[in-house]
């Protein structure tokens, strides 16, 4: 639903920011079956040395994700739109270079221990 369809046509400004990033993904706009959300945590398994052997966009992600980051943070650091970052991350996940966890959907009544921990954490800041 969030992704442009193939038969969409872009002109002028509408084409500008979108067209170039999608060349990075080879025109792909879907992350396959991998359900990445804005706040899914991702972390790279290869270290910095291995990253040097990868294609530049993947190498940047692997270098960034030496500690757990959300998809939103990866996108912000790479200065790329979220949907494109999802495609790149999905590639890395399929190759076993990145592991991820979808943020668990919170129920209508969130766990009181989690809420208390958030409150305590804010007070400690």
């Amino acid at each position: 639903m969030m992704f442009p369809r193939e038969d969409d046509t872009w002109f002028d400004d509408a084409a500008g920011p979108i067209a170039r990033p999608y060349t990075i993904t080879g025109g792909r706009t879907h992350a396959g079956n991998i359900d990445l959300q804005l706040l899914s945590l991702v972390v790279a398994l290869p270290g910095l040395a291995e990253a040097a052997t990868m294609a530049p966009e993947y190498a940047r992600i692997v270098r960034l994700c030496q500690r757990p980051l959300s998809v939103a943070e990866v996108a912000a650091h790479l200065d790329l739109p979220v949907p494109i970052v999802k495609v790149l991350l999905a590639d890395l996940i399929e190759r076993g270079h990145v592991i991820y966890r979808t943020s668990q959907p919170l129920s209508d009544t969130p766990d009181q221990h989690v809420l208390q921990a958030v409150l305590d954490g804010i007070r400690r800041l």
């Binding site: 969409d8 509408a14 706040l39 972390v43 757990p68 943070e73 739109p81 991820y100 009181q112």
Partner: protein
């Protein structure tokens, strides 16, 4: 998670929670995020290609057709197993459909109000009321802004008596901490009621 027991640094098992900071354009949402975030507020762009059709005829700050919406956010690592993200909601009304996705899984929200243009936070108040998401109202005290009392703001916004409302300074870390702490207490009270 299969990898959870391995190297802690590469652990993705942490619980992720989010709070929203909403309010009109230019009210200080990103400033508030930045006052407590451990990272400088980051900006990311989410695609709204299809949903944007037909809503751009509203009179807005920008007249140009856009296919993405910018989100500003910050992060507070409470402990290695619990990460809090603060998301600033897009300022323009025409992005209301993004809020639905943003609001999913959010614990609660701060509606930042500017007394010089109180009406700019009506859409946020309406949205959270309809969605049943707990929220508090922070009246951002800008320099030289005309000061109203919190009860005057409550009456103007037609807020329920149960909705906490307080004066704040979005630039000030202690002030933002206070707003967020009151929000969390409100969220916990709501959760306790729902559990009965």
């Amino acid at each position: 998670m299969a990898f959870a027991g391995s190297e802690p640094r590469r652990n993705v098992s942490a619980t992720v929670v989010k709070l929203l900071i909403a309010g009109g354009f230019g009210v200080g949402k990103t400033t508030m995020v930045g006052s407590v975030s451990e990272i400088s507020p980051l900006r990311t762009e989410e695609s709204i290609t299809q949903a944007s059709a037909g809503v751009d005829d509203l009179t807005g700050v920008e007249s140009k057709t856009t296919t993405t919406v910018a989100l500003d956010f910050g992060r507070i690592t409470i402990n290695p197993e619990l990460i809090l993200y603060l998301f600033g909601t897009p300022g323009q009304d025409r992005f209301w459909f993004m809020w639905d996705e943003l609001a999913q899984g959010a614990l609660g929200a701060v509606v930042l109000a500017d007394t010089r243009r109180l009406e700019s936070c009506f859409p946020a108040v309406d949205f959270f009321e309809r969605r049943g998401l707990p929220f508090v109202v922070g009246v951002n005290c800008f320099d030289n802004a005309y000061r109203y009392g919190t009860e005057e703001v409550r009456a103007a916004l037609e807020l329920d008596d149960t909705v906490p409302i307080l004066l704040c300074d979005a630039r000030d870390r202690e002030s933002t901490k206070q707003v967020l702490a009151i929000l969390m207490q409100h969220v916990m009270a709501n959760a306790a009621l729902a559990r009965r």
